[in-house]
Symmetry: D3
């Protein structure tokens, strides 16, 4: 599947924490850790676990810009 | 200002394209280019231009995970 | 690529309208038309045009529920 | 109330799962099941339960497009 | 229609600016001006114009928290 | 940090409820209560508690408009 989302950052899963319905998955992308809040079901369906290669994917309209 | 958004990726602005109301700002974060779709007003208010240091900021609930 | 987004509705592209930076793509999914607002670049990269098979993809945290 | 969100898919609630703070509501819209991640409070306020008629509502800027 | 979105701020439309595909609507909610980026089609369908009563509606998962 | 998000509503925290992974923070902004669904980690990092001054921050593309 090819998706329209502009941002696909390749990395490695460093943490998977399941909650009651919502899981947090942390992906190390070149030294920065990106946190994704996704459903527990998605974690199961993708079989996500620490050490896996994975992408953090973000739609351009969900990215903000900040300056110091 | 300190913000709750979990993801703040530091980089450098490599492109600013204004549309009629919506601008696209591209930030190089460690070799990956992140595209942000923000308002023209935000570009003006932050004075964003190519070469500036900037952060791509994303709320954790807006990050998806993908695998090959 | 397999993505964590829970919602992938299969359909056919019925309209592609490009703006200055933002495009609107309409996909007929079983009789309902879903509108996606994505970047012009995504339209070009995916080569989207009327009549193509396509999926409308939505993260679960972006879906609201309404009743009459 | 009339809302600007472009996408309102009519269906029937097929599952309501409450978590600690976040609930998952699944709505069958013409054979496809759409998952919504909303607050427990919203589930209570709308009185959502299996079998109810409901709409899955999505803002156009939260819809992505994918192709095979 | 009753919607699950937790945040409905009542106010008055103070500006409507249409772009090529995306419009900006500004709503004064008790002295603060909220900017909404919505489709031109939504502006037309709701017939939004300066002086109208309107609500700014936001899903709880799209609200961040910041401190000074 | 200055952020591109157009909407920053100043108020006071009136409730903090942590779930398994996701917290709900309610901020009174001039008499209206805004609900934010953020990660437990963000609550801890910002040290959010009832009575604190805080801003509800929302990207313009996440604001919808509704009329009665």
């Amino acid at each position: 599947m090819k998706i329209s989302a502009r941002n696909r950052l390749k990395g490695k899963v460093v943490e998977v924490t399941k909650g009651a319905t919502t899981a947090h998955v942390r992906i190390d992308v070149g030294g920065s850790v990106v946190t994704a809040s996704i459903t527990n079901e998605a974690v199961d369906e993708l079989g996500l676990k620490v050490g896996d290669n994975a992408y953090a994917v973000v739609k351009a309209s969900d990215v903000m810009v900040a300056i110091d």
